[in-house]
């Protein structure tokens, strides 16, 4: 897993609540058996019109916006457990997703792929969306060590599980840790017969 410490980037706004993982990556693209190529189809049915042309109104297609931070509405990533959603967002180039609320499974999947989900207050989120829309060139600064997200003079501290934070900063994943606990796991198995 790639390490994550700090990031300074422009951001793309996605001012929609309850974005489910079926929208992030529709089921018809889940037939691959590796993790590559999902970025091409991220938000497929919102990015493209029925005739296959680009939907110019969708923010990812708006050339004013760019960057590796996605700023999304409340309850991001609900629905299916498909980790393909995290692979698609990473594949497209996102490193951070900001929202006021994340669905559980998506949040875990993101963290397991070096994609940092930052939960901010509703007020911070709506200000952030307005700021980006008014000035797409706005730079957002994320510092994982300090757990801060800053825009201009405004800053907010975000929560992250300390264990997951260490994993992100060092690029460790859970398998490494679990394998180091094999003896304890086998001992546990003996107690349950």
């Amino acid at each position: 897993m790639e390490k994550f410490t700090t990031l300074t980037s422009r951001a793309i706004p996605l001012d929609i609540a309850n974005v489910d993982t079926d929208q992030i990556i529709p089921a018809r693209f889940l037939k691959a058996t590796d993790k590559k190529g999902f970025g091409d189809n991220v938000f497929r049915d919102w990015r493209y019109n029925k005739d296959g042309s680009e939907n110019s109104e969708f923010s990812l297609n708006n050339t004013d916006y760019s960057g590796s931070i996605l700023v999304a509405g409340d309850n991001f990533g609900c629905g299916s457990s498909r980790e393909h959603a995290a692979w698609a967002l990473v594949g497209y180039g996102f490193k951070v997703i900001v929202s006021s609320f994340f669905a559980d499974i998506f949040k875990g999947n993101a963290l397991n792929n070096g994609l940092l989900p930052i939960q901010v207050s509703l007020e911070f989120l709506s200000e952030l969306l307005i700021t980006i829309k008014n000035n797409p060139d706005t730079k957002i600064i994320v510092n994982l060590e300090l757990q801060t997200i800053s825009v201009g003079d405004t800053s907010e501290i975000f929560d992250i599980d300390p264990y997951k934070k260490t994993c992100m900063i060092n690029g460790y994943d859970d398998i490494d840790y679990l394998l180091s606990k094999k003896t304890e796991i086998e001992a546990f198995e003996n107690t349950i017969g």
């Binding site: 929208q23 089921a27 999947n109 304890e184």
Partner: protein, 467 residues
């Protein structure tokens, strides 16, 4: 501090291997279910790192998400789909994992076949790379969906690193009205609580409505826990549960079964145990439900009108559905009906549909897909004579699989069409690009298929016994 424990606490605490200071706990996983879509990348991960599957005997595999529901004996036409199924077979063979592949007498939707085989038992921890793993909570099991990285973790260690979720209890007491099915109960609960009320929580369903429900009904309820954001839902195991498990393929036998039952009886929540959040509803308030929007929380009683809301997401949702705030859905023409999915594809669901359909004819405008949850359900449908009823009424019984619930295979609802569906998600395009899903019970779906439009099933419900 009280030492009173909830059902969830008891099962969770019995599976903690170790705890990281200020961090997650290592939770031991008893049973792991896998399917073709969310497992290949996990097998690759292990292979790349040279790690063996730790406990292959605790894993069972099935092919369900991406399988055709017609001509299952023929080679699969879609190359990518065929490749995905072949990889599952190869991976299972290489790692000594039991696989019930397409055509096997035990093949079926992962959340239908596992309980059917007695693989699901009370007091266990179970996971699967599928969010509807919450289904198995019907047995008093901690069961939840995981991502593919976690599938790899369970392959490698039979454990997961998790922070214990908070507790939530939803109590429904009273007697359900005639024609109100378990699906209506859960759609009602989600319509009241919203799609993220359960996020960060594990939910227990309590009260006599669930106590009096069959195991299949309990599975329907627990299945949709994830639609209110809860990773899982549970119902205390009781005699109904023990009777269901007893005698099944993987269930303990003889004395071993009796010992298990003695343990399972200790699992229900202690009197006086506290929950972080509690909600209570009256059974008498629940009526047959229907959804009108693009998330499962957007549900109304079938006789109600669509509410008014200025919220941008609400407006966008109605625009997608081509519905108007304030209108009724009664008499809305529908051209597609789907009875199936891990929510409603068990024998009781088809019995309800058959009971309504018997002696009637499918409306001409309707394309109806009846998709059993497993080969065993398919066999039951035939053995009980339900297929004859469906055939006579002009319905098509297909072969088992996830089918039009997520439309990964060819069972896609066309652009712009409405589908009254017994599945679990009405997200944009869920059943095919541009398709519009209306979630409902098997009774409402059957009634829609006969009328060719949405009808108020409560009007003549007293003539039918569905309780």
């Amino acid at each position: 501090m009280t030492n009173k424990k909830t059902l969830f606490d008891k099962v969770w605490d019995a599976h903690v291997v170790d705890s990281i200071e200020n961090g997650p706990q290592i939770l031991y996983i008893d049973k792991h279910l896998i399917h073709e879509v969310t497992s290949p990348q996990a097998f690759n991960e292990l292979e790349d790192r040279g790690i063996a599957v730790f406990r292959p005997n605790q894993i069972v595999a099935t092919a369900d998400h991406n399988t055709p529901t017609e001509n299952q004996h023929l080679p699969i036409k879609d190359l990518q789909s065929r490749n995905q199924l072949e990889q599952l077979s190869t991976n299972c063979k290489k790692n000594n994992i039991t696989l019930y592949e397409l055509g096997h007498k035990y093949n079926g939707i992962v959340h239908v076949m596992a309980p059917e085989l007695g693989f699901t038992q009370p007091g266990m921890t179970m996971v699967c790379g599928d969010s509807h793993t919450s289904t198995h909570g019907a047995f008093g099991t901690i069961a939840f969906g995981i991502g593919t990285s976690q599938v790899a973790q369970v392959f490698a260690s039979q454990c997961l690193l998790l922070t214990k979720p908070k507790s939530l209890r939803v109590t429904v007491n009273g007697k359900l009205k005639n024609g109100v099915l378990p699906k209506d109960v859960i759609l009602y609960i989600i319509s009241k609580l919203g799609t993220n009320s359960g996020t960060g929580y594990f939910c227990e369903y309590a009260g006599d409505v669930f106590e009096n429900m069959s195991m299949e009904g309990r599975m329907t309820v627990c299945n949709m826990s994830i639609e209110m954001g809860a990773r899982g839902g549970m119902i205390a195991p009781d005699q109904t549960t023990f009777d269901y498990v007893q005698g099944r393929e993987y269930a303990p036998k003889g004395e071993a079964f009796d010992n298990k039952v003695a343990y399972w009886k200790t699992l229900p929540t202690d009197d006086g145990a506290t929950f972080n959040k509690e909600y209570t509803f009256d059974a008498e308030d629940i009526e047959p439900m229907i959804t009108y929007g693009t998330n499962p929380g957007m549900g109304i009683k079938i006789s109600e009108n669509i509410p008014n809301d200025k919220d941008a997401s609400f407006v966008k949702s109605l625009e997608y559905m081509n519905f108007e705030a304030g209108e009724s859905l009664i008499n809305k023409q529908i051209n597609y009906v789907f009875i199936g999915s891990c929510t409603n594809s068990r024998i009781e669901d088809f019995r309800v549909a058959a009971k309504y359909i018997e002696g009637k004819q499918k409306a001409d405008n309707i394309t109806a897909w009846l998709v059993p949850g497993s080969k065993q359900v398919e066999t039951q449908i035939i053995d009980e004579g339900l297929k004859d009823i469906f055939d006579a009424a002009g319905f098509e019984l297909r072969q088992p699989g996830c089918s039009a619930c997520l439309a990964m295979n060819d069972d896609k609802i066309p652009q712009g069409e409405y589908c009254v569906s017994t599945s679990n998600r009405n997200f944009e395009g869920r059943q095919g690009q541009g398709s519009r899903t209306i979630l409902a019970s098997p009774l409402v779906a059957a009634a829609t298929a006969i009328a060719g439009k949405i009808v108020d099933v409560t009007e003549n419900i007293e003539t039918l016994e569905f309780a």
